[in-house]
């Protein structure tokens, strides 16, 4: 039975097309998108548009941007940033390789800094750069080199001071992808975590780009190590998710529990020798589906294949 499962896994793994970084194109019409600016805490703001949430830190040194949404939204995003600061964009951090997080890497700082000479450093883990610069797979489009980060890191952490506070960029190995970063603004006490955490929707475990369910759980546990509630599991460190509302530790706990419990359930079904199709029929996510956007075979399949691949 186990051999049969393995053969099935290998036979179909190539056909697995979970959402990949560059198969996701920008929505057809972004003209009607309005940018919402929400003050999170300290010198950190969250900008919501059409792609992933954008984190902005402002101060005397300039502007730091975490994730850049879509290129087409750059004028609106710059207008929103200008309401917070007239200073140039100095740093950009990409939390992952996804198109809705890096699409504005070129246009956003170019527009924002048009009147001045400012070298923008775009930080990402080296795996993001490797994914973007490698030959495209299948029908994936080529990623224009103007979008590539120019300041990659390969150690577990990169930190620096900006606007008077420590900024800590940490690599979360093999989580949503293999190039995920989280960004901690120490004085503001805000953590920007990208698509590792997306309240109200199941996580995207991008196996093709090196993601795994265990890596995702490890990353969520790491987030919980960093966050400290103010009082009685509320407030304190605020968490900006890849998509969705501002959260704190208690919200991440709910999410971590959900992913952990579903992993355990799928692992149990795997031990019983169930095929992927049988697992889908068993629907071990059924009590979480109403809370996380409905049944999601893509997520379930990613968990199944991620756990299968470990054997």
């Amino acid at each position: 039975m186990k051999i049969r499962i393995l053969l099935l896994t290998f036979a179909t793994v190539g056909a697995l097309h979970q959402r990949t970084a560059w198969s996701q194109t920008a929505p057809a019409n972004l003209d009607s998108v309005e940018i919402q600016t929400i003050h999170v805490q300290g010198s950190v703001y969250m900008l919501v548009g059409a792609g992933g949430n954008m984190t902005i830190q402002v101060g005397n040194d300039g502007v730091l941007v975490v994730d850049t949404q879509y290129e087409q939204l750059a004028p609106k995003l710059v207008a929103a940033i200008r309401k917070l600061s007239e200073k140039p964009i100095v740093w950009v951090v990409n939390t992952a390789v996804d198109a809705d997080h890096v699409g504005g890497n070129d246009a956003l700082p170019r527009l924002a800094n048009a009147a001045i000479r400012q070298n923008v450093r775009i930080i990402a883990h080296e795996n993001v750069v490797n994914r973007m610069s490698s030959a495209p797979r299948g029908t994936d489009p080529v990623v224009p080199d103007k979008l590539w980060p120019n300041d990659e890191y390969f150690l577990p952490q990169k930190d620096f001071s900006f606007n008077g506070e420590a900024v800590v960029v940490s690599h979360m190995p093999a989580a949503h992808t293999d190039g995920d970063s989280i960004v901690f603004f120490r004085s503001s006490n805000v953590l920007s975590v990208g698509d590792i955490f997306t309240p109200g929707r199941y996580p995207v475990i991008d196996l093709r780009n090196g993601g795994s369910v265990q890596g995702l759980i490890n990353a969520l546990n790491r987030i919980l190590q960093i966050t400290v509630p103010l009082k009685y599991q509320e407030g304190g460190t605020y968490v900006i998710p890849g998509h969705g509302r501002i959260c704190d530790e208690a919200d991440v706990v709910e999410y971590r529990d959900m992913v952990t419990i579903i992993r355990d359930r799928v692992q149990d079904l795997l031990k019983k020798g169930m095929t992927l199709e049988q697992v889908k029929v068993a629907r071990p996510t059924r009590d979480y589906d109403p809370e996380y956007g409905g049944p999601n075979d893509t997520f379930l399949e990613a968990v199944y294949r991620s756990l299968s691949a470990k054997k």
Binding site: V48, Y232, E234, E254, D257, R265, D268, D289
Partner: protein
């Protein structure tokens, strides 16, 4: 005093009477120290509900499985659970000693808000009365949520959104962060009644309605609650205790202890209504009550203490 002066005085008095009477008619003052009455659902609110007791809860299948999977060890193992307070909807039912006070705009003497302080977890809640809007979709959610109130006659109706995910009952029955809580507050002399209605599109098939009562206790002194998380059971980091679907051995205890049909204990909207009895044709009530019989308080006669629960894991 001539007739013109008498007329002026009458007009001034009339204006004053109108100005002072209008708010007092519409606005009841709930300020004071309030002690809870546990004559409703005492076993659930004090020691806590039995595992698998979903009676009369209008839950859907997702809520039922979530509760079936819940393992109380989670509170011991996952430190982040240990100092979680009751959310606004459950705080009314728990250790419900409360203090209520008004915030008044000194310039206009208008009511800005009612503030509440709960004994449990020192929780504080604000009910805004100044007509401000609720926050947007991307605002953080909190245990007490965001509450606004309006007067309906002398009843205060409170709407609460932006709640964190929490529980309907302390046996794992979940309540989502999409729920909306509506409360109806009424005061009769020294008695306060709050009827709460929870609408949860994630876990409930119809609104869950509950009521809770307090009496005015001016001598009440609410102390500091205090809570410090600490590991009670060693476990590898990231451990989340839970039961796999179909594996929880404790779910039939409740039906057995109380002589109830198991299917009734599984809850669902149909178990709320008297007509449900007609579906339990084969059910025979036990001859003798042996647990929480005629229980209106947790102290004193009339409420037998249950035996220690055997370890079944």
């Amino acid at each position: 005093m001539n007739s013109i002066n008498r007329g002026r005085i009458f007009i001034i008095l009339a204006v004053l009477a109108f100005a002072t009477a209008a708010p007092s008619f519409a606005q009841i003052d709930f300020s004071g120290e309030w002690a809870p009455l546990y004559h409703e659902d005492a076993p659930e609110r004090g020691p806590g509900p039995e595992l698998g007791d979903y009676l009369e809860m209008p839950i859907n299948d997702a809520a039922r499985l979530r509760a079936d999977s819940w393992d109380a060890d989670r509170i011991s193992v996952v430190q982040e659970y240990q100092c979680r307070p009751h959310a606004a909807d459950y705080a009314l039912r728990g250790l419900g000693n409360i203090r209520i006070w008004r915030e008044i705009d000194t310039a206009t003497q208008r009511l800005i808000a009612f503030h509440m302080h709960f004994l449990a977890w020192d929780s504080e809640r604000t009910i805004w009365m100044d007509g401000r809007p609720h926050p947007g979709d991307y605002a953080p959610h909190t245990w007490q949520g965001f509450s606004t109130g309006v007067w309906e006659g002398n009843m205060l109706t409170v709407t609460t959104t932006h709640l964190k995910a929490n529980y309907l009952r302390r046996n794992g029955l979940p309540r989502s962060d999409k729920a909306i809580l509506t409360e109806h507050w009424t005061r009769h002399a020294d008695w306060l009644t709050i009827v709460s209605v929870i609408e949860d599109p994630v876990f409930l098939t119809e609104p869950l309605v509950r009521s809770d009562n307090w009496y005015l206790d001016p001598g009440q002194a609410i102390g500091v609650f205090g809570c410090e998380p600490a590991p009670e059971v060693p476990a590898p980091e990231g451990t989340v205790p839970h039961w796999l679907p179909g594996a929880n051995p404790n779910l039939r205890e409740f039906a057995g202890w109380y002589g109830l049909p198991f299917e009734a204990t599984r809850g669902g909207a149909e178990t709320l209504y008297p007509e449900y009895r007609s579906r339990l044709r084969d059910y025979k009530a036990p001859e003798k009550c042996e647990r929480y019989c005629a229980c209106t308080t947790l102290i004193g006669p009339g409420c037998n203490v249950p035996p220690p629960r055997p370890v079944t894991r």
